[in-house]
């Protein structure tokens, strides 16, 4: 590859989407590889990251597999989502801030404009670093900008770094676990991600260690037409505990943007991982123009007595295709999924989880809350599978839909497969509207119509939001309010 476009990207951000509070663009010099996907692009990405041969080979195998799926037209279409065909050759697969080569050693070295971006997002890194007790591995487009709290973590032997750094510095761990939960053959988007993933986060907590802080990463998508393909791998070794927060916002874009991430979680014996997400990427205009296409594969595996808990608040993206799942392989292990998904205007969300019970006495809990407003379409798709060896497995599923207005849709598609007679499964589902009686009740006490709606909706979502770490819970409440603006009244 010799041709590389060097662009200074400076674009208008004052579009007609006043509704999106976090919409703006950043004027940072970017380095772009040409559009389109080929083995050469895969090699370029790998070379840019100075990756070892095994990594490049893995990427190339993934690319080959994805190409095969592409030829067989195996892009999944079973979800209840409608979007125009994606032209995979019209997408940038590599974009890095220009300063990548001499990556900043501390915040002082970070591009001031980039810091400003974080400020607009309400993430004053330097403040959080000091006050919030959160280590931030900030992914700006594809390259990590700053990692904090490294020392505190290092003392305990905890590794928390960008994925690229992990490949360089901890190749044995990456090789051992990469693709162990989501192989590149898993699905079309996972294969794509495996070939071209740009960066992401890596965390490893050694045996018996409890990570003292919440690990946090902010993802942003910032280059027009560039897909972002994060790869995250988190390993809690035996008896270890880690809580990981992922929060996302993205600037306004007119064209749709592809996003295909893979997250793999490994909880070894007695290990525990709590993974919390707030996803607030650009949802498109009120009329359904633009917005992020979010195709994400998230899955964890639990060994004996281990636990994985997913919590997500999904308010953004035009298209959401996402099923954070747990393979309950070890006996007595626990999987949880708590989700609030909101689809307003023309947003479409097809999201849920899979709980696959393999070990004895495994237990899973699913609480899904779908809010549909405007012309939004919200589908819960969930699978609970009890394999023959899973003696005494239990699952409780609660699946609630809330409709705001009469143009939106809510759909529930549960798949249940039980192959062991000792299993106990419960499934509760409900669909409701914000009732006029409730609204009148709250308003008669002096609360405005909009606040009353907000109070009813966040109350309804409460048993998911309370699973979030405290700071995140506040933000989630705010986010639901902002995301529903204009939908009520």
């Amino acid at each position: 590859m010799t041709t590389q476009d060097r662009l200074t990207i400076s674009r208008e951000s004052k579009l007609d989407d006043a509704g999106y509070k976090w919409g703006f663009s950043t004027d940072v010099e970017m380095e772009l590889a040409p559009k389109g996907l080929s083995p050469d692009i895969v090699r370029l990405i790998s070379e840019k990251k100075d990756e070892p041969d095994w990594m490049l080979e893995w990427r190339l195998k993934a690319f080959e597999y994805w190409s095969k799926l592409q030829r067989e037209d195996a892009e999944p279409r079973w979800a209840k989502l409608r979007y125009p065909d994606i032209d995979y050759q019209d997408i940038y697969y590599y974009a890095a801030p220009k300063s990548f080569d001499d990556a900043p050693k501390s915040l002082d070295e970070v591009d001031p404009e980039m810091l400003e971006t974080f400020d607009k997002l309400g993430i004053p890194l330097h403040e959080r670093e000091r006050l919030a007790g959160v280590a931030v591995d900030a992914v700006f487009d594809s390259v990590s900008v700053a990692t904090t709290y490294a020392d505190q973590l290092e003392e305990r032997g905890i590794i928390f770094c960008s994925f690229t750094e992990a490949v360089q510095n901890h190749p044995e761990l990456v090789q051992k676990y990469l693709g162990s939960v989501v192989p590149y053959t898993d699905n079309f988007f996972a294969a794509l991600n495996s070939a071209v993933f740009s960066d992401g986060s890596f965390a490893y907590v050694p045996p018996g260690v409890r990570c003292p802080i919440e690990l946090m990463t902010y993802f942003r998508i910032n280059t027009e037409g560039s897909g972002q393909f994060e790869r995250t791998l988190i390993v809690a070794d035996e008896g270890a505990y880690v809580s990981y927060l992922e929060g996302c916002t993205a600037p306004i874009r007119r064209t749709s943007q592809l996003h295909a991430a893979v997250v793999e979680l490994v909880a070894l014996d007695r290990g525990e991982i709590k993974y919390s997400t707030i996803q607030n990427w650009y949802p498109g205009t009120k009329d359904g123009q633009g917005g992020v296409y979010n195709f994400v594969t998230k899955r964890g595996i639990t060994e004996r007595d281990a636990k994985i808990s997913w919590t997500q608040v999904e308010t953004g993206s035009a298209i959401t295709w996402k099923y954070p799942s747990v393979i309950l392989r070890g006996d007595n292990s626990v999987g949880e999924f708590y989700s609030v998904a909101l689809a307003n205007n023309y947003q479409q969300a097809d999201t849920g989880t899979k709980m696959i019970h393999i070990g004895k006495n495994t237990k899973s809990t699913i609480v899904s809350k779908g809010i549909s407003a405007g012309h939004g379409e919200n589908t819960y798709r969930g699978g609970v599978k009890i394999l023959p060896g899973a003696e005494n497995a239990t699952n409780h599923t609660q699946c609630d839909s809330l409709l705001v207005g009469d143009q939106c849709g809510a759909h529930t598609v549960p798949y249940i497969e039980v192959r062991n007679p000792t299993a106990r499964l419960e499934h509760e589902a409900s669909t409701s509207k914000v009732s006029d009686e409730q609204l009148f009740y709250l308003m008669s006490r002096g609360i405005s119509e909009e606040d009353a709606h907000h109070m009813i909706i966040t109350g309804w979502s409460r048993n998911v939001i309370k699973e979030l770490p405290f700071e995140f819970a506040l933000e989630a409440g705010q986010l639901l309010k902002v995301s529903l603006e204009g939908a009520v009244g």
């Binding site: 009740y441 308003m443 008669s444 002096g446 119509e449 109070m455 109350g459």
Partner: protein, 254 residues
């Protein structure tokens, strides 16, 4: 301060007329009781005063201090000092009574150009009232009205009334379905709040509550109209004779 003139109201989007010309004037410090048989429109009157959207005022006016409130939303009426203790308060999952009431008080204070009550001050007030009214402490940790018994819901309405401190308190059959202890608690709350500045409009089917809260003026509402107005003795008369005579008169009148 509250004046109702020739008030007609229908069920929204229907021709069903429920209130057929009500005139009523409530001065500061007065306690009015509105009695009537089932279906006479007394609950509708209470809800129309608060601006419930399922009813539409088709004729007449409601004014507070000379200002018409007919076009106002329920929250705006609350900001003016109206309060309705509901007959069937809604359950609101996931919303704590404390959080709800703080938001309500802040909204009313804000609309009246007053400073928000601090969390500490509010909590003190809240706890005092909870104890005074005898609300089970477990309840206030739950969602608003969710899983509350009938009596607990009514006590919770009284809590809201006392904390929000309205100028015009409307009570819609607050006494129905209450045991004697809860009834006493409601009555104590009302009596304590009686003041020369505050008025009450108490809608009730039975005279029960009026044994504990002595009204200044009693109205009998039949078929959407006030057919008799008197002092407290009218309530006793109704208790002895029931609504038979009124209903008979209404039938004969037709």
């Amino acid at each position: 301060m509250l004046k109702i003139e020739n008030l007609h109201a229908t069920v929204t989007d229907s021709d069903e007329v429920i209130l057929k010309g009500i005139d009523l004037e409530v001065s500061p410090g007065e306690v009015h009781a509105i009695m009537g048989p089932n279906g006479s429109g007394k609950s509708t009157l209470a809800n129309v005063l608060m601006g419930k959207p399922s009813y539409t005022v088709s004729e007449g006016d409601i004014t507070v201090d000379g200002e018409s409130i007919v076009e106002m939303m329920p929250d705006e009426r609350a900001h003016l000092g109206l309060f309705l203790a509901m007959q069937y308060p809604s359950e609101v999952p996931g919303v704590r009574p404390w959080q709800f009431l703080k938001a309500a008080k802040d909204a009313i204070d804000d609309a009246n150009g007053q400073k928000k009550t601090s969390v500490r001050q509010f909590s003190k007030l809240f706890d005092e009232k909870v104890e005074e009214i005898g609300i089970n402490l477990d309840l206030i940790k739950r969602s608003l009205n969710e899983g509350f018994s009938g009596g607990e819901k009514k006590r919770n309405e009284m809590l809201q009334m006392q904390v929000l401190d309205p100028r015009i308190a409307i009570m819609d059959e607050t006494d129905s379905g209450l045991d004697i202890d809860a009834l006493q608690a409601v009555a104590d709350g009302v009596n304590k709040m009686r003041s020369p500045e505050r008025s009450f409009v108490i809608v009730t089917h039975y005279q029960r509550l009026l044994h504990f809260v002595h009204p200044d003026i009693v109205h009998v509402l039949v078929d959407g109209k006030i057919v008799e107005t008197g002092d407290a003795s009218l309530a006793e008369k109704v208790e002895q004779n029931g609504y038979r005579d009124y209903l008979a008169a209404q039938r004969n009148g037709k």
